[in-house]
């Protein structure tokens, strides 16, 4: 029994230590498609639906290429990259976090703004708190959910509340600081939040009938700028740049379909 356990342990150790199957990646191969190439893209959570579609299209146009997405809050993604995560492309919901990779991390190349996004108030479809406009966010006993500070959606939301002059009262209504904007949507969807501030693009086809979007007046609203860049030191730098070019080119239509504004 003990020797069996030892063999099992040894086998699992060896199996996990062995590198993955597949041909060597190599570098600098631009022209034709290669077999089994993996591109790792870290993208802001608000890009989940649009980029998944863009990834599928890129894979179809480049047989043999597999795009792996890592969706999350832009601040967390930047920190991961700066801590050494092997990411090829970074698409952020705010220039701040690409700056962070540039200044405190491995650096970026091929940086370009690829989209913009508007923010809005999101309420459950039955609108339990009867929110009609931004000023209603300052009323008493409102359960407001925002993304945490540092998350672009969280910083933008706080900027908007300050622009509207209701920061004090509204921030006192915050009941939860979520780790990314999709988590804010979840709290609105479940009906537990009276209101949240997220992107207009977060009202995706799947949740359209459960969330109501209340626009924020242009004079207080913030338009988010989304930059994309290749992370320096990427082993697939050329392919990564092709992906960036695709997002700036063919991918623009997909982004528009999901409600993003052109850069």
């Amino acid at each position: 029994m003990r020797s069996f356990a030892a063999v099992l342990a040894l086998t699992s150790l060896v199996a996990t230590a062995c590198p993955d199957d597949g041909p060597d990646a190599g570098s600098g191969d631009t022209a034709s498609a290669r077999e089994g190439v993996d591109l790792t893209v870290s993208a802001a959570s608000s890009l989940t639906e649009a980029f998944t579609e863009i990834g599928d299209a890129f894979e179809s146009a480049n047989p043999g290429v597999s795009v792996t997405f890592n969706f999350g809050p832009s601040d967390g993604l930047a920190t991961q990259i700066n801590e050494g995560a092997p990411v090829d492309v970074f698409a952020s919901a705010s220039p701040t976090w690409v700056d962070a990779v540039q200044d405190d991390g491995p650096g970026v190349t091929g940086r370009a703004d690829f989209a913009r996004n508007e923010l809005a108030i999101l309420v459950p479809s039955d609108n339990p708190a009867g929110i009609e406009g931004i000023d209603d966010l300052s009323e008493d006993d409102l359960r407001l959910v925002l993304a945490a500070e540092g998350v672009p959606a969280g910083d933008y939301a706080r900027e908007i509340l300050a622009n509207a002059g209701i920061a004090g009262a509204a921030l006192a209504n915050v009941v939860s600081n979520e780790e990314d904007v999709k988590a804010v949507i979840t709290k609105v969807l479940s009906g537990d939040a009276d209101a949240g501030i997220g992107y207009v693009t977060d009202v995706t086809p799947g949740v359209g009938d459960q969330i109501t979007l209340i626009p924020i007046p242009d004079d207080v609203n913030v338009i988010a700028t989304y930059p994309i860049a290749v992370v320096s030191g990427s082993e697939e730098a050329d392919l990564a740049l092709r992906f960036v070019d695709y997002v700036l080119g063919g991918g623009q239509r997909t982004l528009a379909e999901y409600g993003f504004l052109p850069a």
Partner: protein, 234 residues
């Protein structure tokens, strides 16, 4: 080991003494202790029923009790939302009848922590109850002791170390609870942001501070378990 190497020892004093860390520490202590106590109080009768009673659906009850242990914590959180969220099965009644909403309260954090630590308490207590020599209880009743007296003066003292073990395990599990808490209770400093949530939030922008707060959490668990000096194992 990795944490010890990467913790910013020069900054650790300032980080741990920060309002965020201290608030999270205080909240964690409150939530974990409350959850452990509730797990013990609720767990004892459940363990008793599982150890001693025979009833239809016993296997089903046992499975239900153990389920939170094998469930991924986030799934447990989703389940709690479905039950106690404002649109939930129980939550909607609470809201309509009493205007009470459970989510986003410290109570929700306690509920999430209790949900995941109760199974541990039940398991330990059940094993303990099964291990009792029932001749001692028989002897007590032949001597004229009521069932309540027997419970209080014979059973509970005999189970001292198992009860302590159940408490410690439940407390440790509750202290580390993250997935169910962030999904069901939310994340707000002073109300629901326990130490694990504080670590996670810090990790997004300042990993070194996260390492420092993690050391705080580990240190706390270490001190408590060391302080018990293995008494709960005797």
């Amino acid at each position: 080991m990795g944490l010890i190497v990467r913790t910013p020892w020069s900054r650790i004093g300032e980080i741990i003494a920060s309002e965020t860390a201290l608030t999270a520490l205080r909240l964690s202590l409150v939530v974990a202790t409350a959850a452990a106590a509730i797990s013990l109080v609720l767990g004892f009768p459940i363990a008793w029923a599982l150890a001693r009673a025979e009833f239809r659906g016993k296997t089903f009850v046992r499975t239900l009790v153990v389920l939170p242990l094998v469930m991924p914590p986030v799934v447990a959180g989703v389940g709690l939302l479905a039950a106690f969220g404002r649109r939930g099965v129980v939550g909607s009644w609470l809201y309509e009848a009493f205007g009470v909403q459970v989510t986003f309260t410290t109570g929700a954090a306690v509920l999430a922590a209790t949900f995941v630590s109760l199974p541990l308490a039940v398991l330990v207590l059940e094993v303990g109850l099964r291990g009792l020599d029932d001749r001692l209880e028989d002897a007590a009743s032949t001597l004229g002791a009521s069932r309540a007296y027997t419970l209080r003066r014979v059973v509970l003292p005999l189970m001292g170390s198992q009860i302590a073990a159940a408490l410690v395990l439940a407390w440790a599990r509750a202290l580390g609870e993250f997935g169910a808490t962030i999904t069901f209770a939310g994340n707000l400093q002073g109300r629901t942001q326990t130490l694990p949530l504080a670590v996670f939030e810090r990790l997004q922008t300042d990993p070194e501070a996260a390492f420092a707060v993690s050391m705080l959490l580990i240190g706390l668990a270490f001190v408590v378990i060391l302080g018990l000096r293995g008494r709960f194992l005797r």
